[in-house]
C-alpha cells in the first residue's frame, strides 16, 4: 500500500507547484497593497469601481448568451450525430471536433480577418459568433456522449407505452441526457466568463470583458488589483459550479451513466 502511494508523489508535487502555489499567490497578492501591507482595499475597490462592475455584468451576460446559443445549436447537433439512422458514420463527429485541433487564437484571428474582409462591423454580434464557434464542440461532445451511450430500449419502452416521438423526447430522452447538458453548460460557461483574447480580436477591444480587465491590470503591473479581480471571479465561478453540481445530481438521479 505504502509503495503504491509513493506513485502519487509526482502528481502531488505538480499540484502543489502549479495549482496550490499560484492560488496562494493570488490570494496573497489580492490582500496586499503595492508595498506589501495587508489590506482589503483591492477587493472593496472592485465593488466601488463602476466600470469594473459593469464589465463584470457584461461578461456574465455575454457568457449566458453564448452558453444559451451553444446549447441551442449544440443539442440538436449532438442529437443528430448520436442517431445511427440520421448519422450512420462516425466521420461527421470528427468533423465537428476537428476545429479543436487548430489553436483557438489562430481561429479567432482568422475569424476576425474574415469579418474584416466581408466588411462586417466588429462588435457584440461578432464576439458572440466567435465565442460560439470556439466553444461549440465543448457543448456538443458531452451531450453526444450521453445520447450515444443511452440504452435504446428506454425510447422503445416509452413508445411501447404510447408515447409519440415528441413525447419520447420530452419525457425520456431529454431528462436522461441532462447530465451531458450540465457538463456542456459548465464547459462553455466557465471559460467564456474569463476569456479575453476573443473579445480583444473580435471587437477590436471595443467590448471589454472581465478577463480583459484582469489582463490589462496585470500587464500594467497592477498585480494586486489584478489578483483581487481574479480571486473574485474564481469565487463566483466556484459558486456556480457548486450550485450546478447539486442540480446535476438531482437531474441524473438514478444515474443512467
Amino acid at each position: 500500500m505504502n509503495k503504491r502511494s509513493t506513485w502519487a508523489l509526482p502528481y502531488f508535487i505538480f499540484l502543489l507547484l502549479f495549482v496550490a502555489l499560484p492560488l496562494i499567490l493570488i490570494l496573497l497578492y489580492a490582500v496586499q497593497d503595492g508595498s506589501g501591507h495587508f489590506t482589503f482595499a483591492n477587493i472593496t475597490k472592485f465593488f466601488s469601481d463602476k466600470d469594473a462592475l459593469s464589465t463584470f455584468a457584461l461578461s456574465i451576460e455575454v457568457a449566458i448568451e453564448n452558453t444559451a446559443l451553444c446549447l441551442l445549436i449544440g443539442y440538436p447537433a449532438a442529437y443528430i450525430l448520436a442517431d445511427n439512422k440520421l448519422n450512420p458514420s462516425a466521420v461527421t463527429v470528427v468533423l465537428f471536433i476537428l476545429p479543436m485541433w487548430i489553436n483557438a487564437l489562430m481561429r479567432t484571428l482568422a475569424t476576425a480577418e474574415l469579418f474584416n474582409m466581408a466588411g462586417i462591423q466588429l462588435g457584440k454580434g461578432t464576439l458572440i459568433f466567435g465565442m460560439c464557434y470556439d466553444f461549440l464542440p465543448f457543448m456538443i461532445y458531452p451531450i453526444y456522449n450521453v445520447l450515444k451511450k443511452m440504452d435504446k430500449s428506454y425510447a422503445e419502452a416509452a413508445q411501447d407505452l404510447g408515447a409519440t416521438s415528441s413525447e419520447v423526447f420530452r419525457k425520456v430522452t431529454l431528462p436522461l441526457s441532462m447530465p451531458g447538458v450540465w457538463s456542456g453548460i459548465m464547459m462553455v460557461f466557465m471559460p467564456t466568463v474569463s476569456t479575453f483574447a476573443i473579445s480583444e480580436f473580435l471587437t477590436n477591444n471595443r467590448i471589454k470583458l472581465f478577463g480583459t480587465i484582469i489582463q490589462e491590470n496585470i500587464n500594467n503591473s497592477m498585480w494586486n488589483y489584478g489578483a483581487a479581480l481574479s480571486l473574485i471571479m474564481l469565487v463566483i465561478i466556484g459558486f456556480t459550479t457548486l450550485f450546478q453540481k447539486d442540480d446535476r445530481q438531482e437531474s441524473s438521479r438514478g444515474g443512467a451513466l
Binding site: Y154, E156, D160, L161, G162, T164, E167, L176, R253, G254
Partner: protein, 462 residues
C-alpha cells in the same frame, strides 16, 4: 377462447444480407400463452419486435383481431412489451414508471393512483411506489416492468426473455407467478425464450424456431413427445437421434435391430430418423423382454435420476436416464416400448446447392470453383449440385481446403456426428463424420470431384 387474436402472414425480414425471418406464418389464439423458442439468432426476438412495431417486416402483414396493423407505429398498437433488461426509466420512481402510459393517455390522476395500487398488488410489490428503480433488485425491477406493461390493459403482452437476467431460484418463482398472472388476467401472452425448460413449463403453445423458420408449433407435450424433426428433438430435452429404415408399417430398424413401432404409411425400406428419449429406454432382467444388449460406458448422478451412456452390441452409443444406476462395464439388457419410438421423415440426404458450369470440368457453387465431371452440360448452365452429407471432408487447416467455415452445430447420431458447418457466406453445410470437432471450430472443407453430383435445372420461362 378459440378466436385468433394475432395472425402473422408471410413475414420476412433481412438485416443486410442476413435473412432473419423467412416467410413466417403464425396464428395466436386469444388468451393463449405462446412461447417463441429457439437458439440465439433464430429470429424470435425480431419476430417479437415486429409484433411490437419496433421493426418493420420487409414483406408480410401483422393482423390483430383480423385488422392489418403492419403500418401502425408502436405507440398506436394496443400491445405492451416487457423488455429483456426491463428498460425502467431511471429518472422516474416506481409510481411514475408504472403510471407513464396512463399519464400519456391523460387518465385522471385518482384513477391512475387506484390502478397503480392494484397492479402493484398483482405483482406483489405493494408499498414500493416511491422507491427509486435503481434501489430495486433484479427481480423487483422485473415485477415493476411487468406492472408497467400490464396497467395499460394490453390486448397482448409481449415478453422478451424477461427472466434471463435472474438467478435460477428467482427464475423458477417468477415462472410460476407469470403463469398465475396469465391465468388470472386472461390476457394473451407472447413470450420469447431460448430456455426449453421454461418454454415447457409456461406455455400453452410452443413455437420452435431456427434460422428464421418455424419448425414446429404445438403444445409442450406434443413438442416433447412428437418432435417432427431431428432438430426439434435435439433442442427440446435430451434425445437419442438415430438413422433408421422403415421396414414397413409398424416395423422399423435401427442400431442394427428391428423394433415394433406405432407409425405407418412411410412405405417400405424408406430411410427415416428415429428419436428415443433417454428415459424411454428400459433395463430388464428377463431375456424374453430384451431387445438388445449393451455395456454401460459411463454413469453420472443427476440429482433425481442417473444418466448413463451405453454401447450397444452393434456399436452404437445411447444415452439412458434411469432411477437405478448400473455400474460402468455392466452388461445390460434393454428394451424400448413401441410407443416411445418417434419416427420422422428424413429432412434430406444430401446438401443441395445452386451452381453454374464455368468451364470444362469446372462447376462453381458456394462462391468457389470445384472440379468435377461435367459431361452433358454446357458452360454457363445453371445446375443443381448435390453432395452427400458423408462425402464432405473436414480439415483442420485451410491450405488444401476448397473453402472454410465454422462448426455451428453438432448432433450425435449413435455412431457418428452430424455437423452443421457455416461457411463464410453464411450457407449451412451438413457433414456426417466420425471425427470429433467442437462447436465454433474453424474448419477447412474439401469435396472430391467424384462426390459432386450435378443435375439439370429446368430452364426458366423467359
Amino acid at each position: 377462447m378459440d378466436k385468433d387474436i394475432i395472425n402473422l402472414r408471410h413475414i420476412s425480414k433481412s438485416f443486410g444480407d442476413n435473412k432473419v425471418l423467412d416467410d413466417i406464418n403464425l396464428n395466436v389464439r386469444k388468451g393463449e400463452f405462446v412461447t417463441f423458442l429457439g437458439p440465439s439468432g433464430c429470429g424470435k426476438t425480431t419476430l417479437l419486435r415486429i409484433l411490437a412495431g419496433f421493426d418493420n417486416p420487409d414483406s408480410g402483414t401483422v393482423e390483430l383481431d383480423g385488422k392489418d396493423i403492419s403500418s401502425l407505429p408502436p405507440y398506436k398498437r394496443p400491445l405492451n412489451t416487457v423488455f429483456q433488461r426491463y428498460a425502467l426509466f431511471p429518472h422516474l420512481d416506481v409510481y411514475d414508471n408504472i403510471a407513464f402510459g396512463l399519464k400519456l393517455k391523460k387518465v385522471p390522476e385518482e384513477e391512475i393512483a387506484k390502478r397503480v395500487k392494484r397492479v402493484l398488488k398483482l405483482v406483489s410489490m405493494s408499498d414500493y411506489e416511491d422507491r427509486d428503480v435503481d434501489s430495486l433488485s433484479g427481480g423487483q425491477q422485473q415485477r415493476v416492468a411487468i406492472a408497467r406493461a400490464l396497467i395499460n390493459q394490453p390486448r397482448v403482452l409481449l415478453l422478451d426473455e424477461p427472466l434471463s437476467a435472474l438467478d435460477l431460484k428467482m427464475r423458477k418463482d417468477m415462472q410460476i407467478e407469470l403463469k398465475e398472472m396469465h391465468d388470472k388476467l386472461g390476457i394473451t401472452f407472447i413470450y420469447v425464450t431460448h430456455d426449453q425448460e421454461e418454454a415447457l413449463t409456461l406455455s400453452d403453445t410452443i413455437v420452435v424456431m431456427n434460422e428464421g423458420h418455424v419448425l414446429q408449433v404445438g403444445s409442450p407435450i406434443d413438442i416433447y413427445n412428437e418432435p417432427q424433426t431431428a432438430y426439434v428433438a435435439n433442442f427440446i430435452g435430451e434425445s437419442n437421434i438415430l438413422d433408421a429404415t422403415m421396414l414397413g408399417d409398424l416395423r422399423v430398424r435401427f442400431i442394427d435391430h428391428d423394433f415394433d413401432c406405432v407409425d405407418k404409411g412411410f412405405g417400405t425400406d424408406v430411410p427415416v430418423d428415429v428419436v428415443v428419449r433417454p428415459e424411454d429406454i428400459y433395463f430388464t432382467t428377463k431375456p424374453e423382454k430384451c431387445q438388445f444388449k449393451a455395456t454401460v460406458t459411463s454413469l453420472t448422478f443427476k440429482g433425481v435420476h442417473y444418466e448413463m451412456w451405453v454401447k450397444t452390441d452393434s456399436g452404437y452409443e445411447l444415452m439412458i436416464q434411469d432411477y437405478d444406476p448400473y455400474q460402468v462395464g455392466t452388461e445390460v439388457m434393454l428394451y424400448i416400448d413401441p410407443d416411445d419410438i418417434q419416427v420422422m421423415h428424413k429432412e434430406s440426404l444430401a446438401n443441395v446447392f445452386e451452381g453454374e458450369i464455368t468451364g470444362e470440368g469446372k462447376v462453381e457453387f458456394l462462391g468457389t470453383q470445384f472440379e468435377c465431371p461435367t459431361e452433358g452440360f454446357a458452360v454457363g448452365d445453371t445446375v443443381r449440385v448435390e453432395v452427400p452429407f458423408d462425402k464432405v471432408d473436414l480439415l483442420d487447416h485451410d491450405d488444401a481446403a476448397d473453402l472454410v467455415g465454422n462448426v455451428a452445430g453438432i448432433l450425435f447420431r449413435g455412431n457418428y456426428n452430424q455437423l452443421t458447418v457455416k461457411t463464410e457466406d453464411k450457407t449451412n453445410i451438413r457433414v456426417d463424420t466420425c471425427d470429433i470437432w467442437d462447436k465454433n471450430d474453424y474448419v477447412g472443407i474439401k469435396i472430391l470431384p467424384e462426390d459432386i453430383h450435378l443435375f439439370k435445372v429446368k430452364a426458366e420461362n423467359e
